[in-house]
Symmetry: C2
Subunit: 189 residues, 2 copies
């Protein structure tokens, strides 16, 4: 099994050798180029991705082609264009790797296989989804109730490195602020 | 078992008489007055609520005491101050019934009991949480990419009745628009 996945699973679930080999078979490795698109707007997201290295970006595109970043999925986390993956419907959002990235991917069908064949996998996944849901609630809270400074500080505390790794446009846009405001906030640090 | 809960479970899970009585024992009925507070900011949310009649409102309060509505939980749906309930930490948001409401409530411990004792309950719950998560993602999308008109139309399509049942302030604030904009949008219908 990929060591990064092993690290993720450690403490969450204990697998027999046979179970570990089932898990290994369900996850395929994928390496992406900078800005490679994994899910195009209008297509169905068929995989959940685990980020070994790099990061993923879920973004929306308006009729004028302007992009806005909905989520960033960082190293050691699972993510995809979730509504499309779960509902098996064309995605409103696109999924891209803004950096060259190393990923593990699991299909909808293999995800079901793990639920059926690995006791405790669904519990682990349910808890993971609860935490992702909580993150999205906190993101809604930040839109409703935090100003630019507070949103920037939150990202600084949770994922400081990403602010320097990704283009300012993506970070500004993820925070729902202008690039001018972002560089002002950065310089104040 | 409460008929509203029976309706919710129908088609999702089949229960033996013994399992049905375990479920019944885990859900307590609660009737609330208009504007009754179920979770105060700073306290821990100990229950998930199922709305039989009425609705629930999750809202944030700033330092000046201004409220902003994060979620509305309507009839036939489960909800609570979710981050507080799952993480068992003091809640940032408050939970209130803006209308006199009839609820079923289940504690964190009883929720675990159902996972352990009712095969299929966790799967049903995992799917429910996935759908709630998808709704919150769509809410984030609406903040990022929809204008006032589009947000209003979405609510019109999904929950038309709520627009007339709840005070304009709550609806405006849920949509992230001013009450003036809301009444203009209403009059245009």
């Amino acid at each position: 099994m990929h060591p990064a996945l092993q690290t993720y699973l450690a403490g969450k679930i204990t697998l027999s050798d046979e179970q570990a080999s089932i898990v290994s078979r369900c996850f395929k490795t994928k390496c992406t180029k900078r800005n490679e698109i994994l899910v195009t707007k209008g297509s169905v997201a068929r995989y959940v991705y685990f980020v070994v290295q790099g990061c993923l970006r879920v973004f929306l595109t308006d009729d004028q082609g302007n992009e806005s970043t909905r989520f960033l999925i960082l190293e050691g986390r699972f993510g995809t264009a979730f509504p499309s993956f779960i509902l098996r419907k064309p995605s409103i959002a696109s999924l891209q790797s803004p950096e060259p990235s190393q990923l593990l991917m699991i299909s909808y069908e293999d995800r079901q296989t793990l639920y059926e064949r690995i006791p405790g996998w669904e519990t682990m996944d349910r808890i993971g989804i609860e935490l992702d849901y909580i993150e999205s609630i906190q993101r809604i809270e930040s839109f409703i109730s935090l100003d630019a400074r507070a949103r920037y500080d939150t990202l600084q505390q949770t994922n400081p490195e990403i602010i320097h790794r990704l283009p300012a446009k993506i970070i500004a846009d993820y925070l729902g602020i202008s690039q001018e405001t972002l560089s002002r906030l950065k310089s104040k640090k």
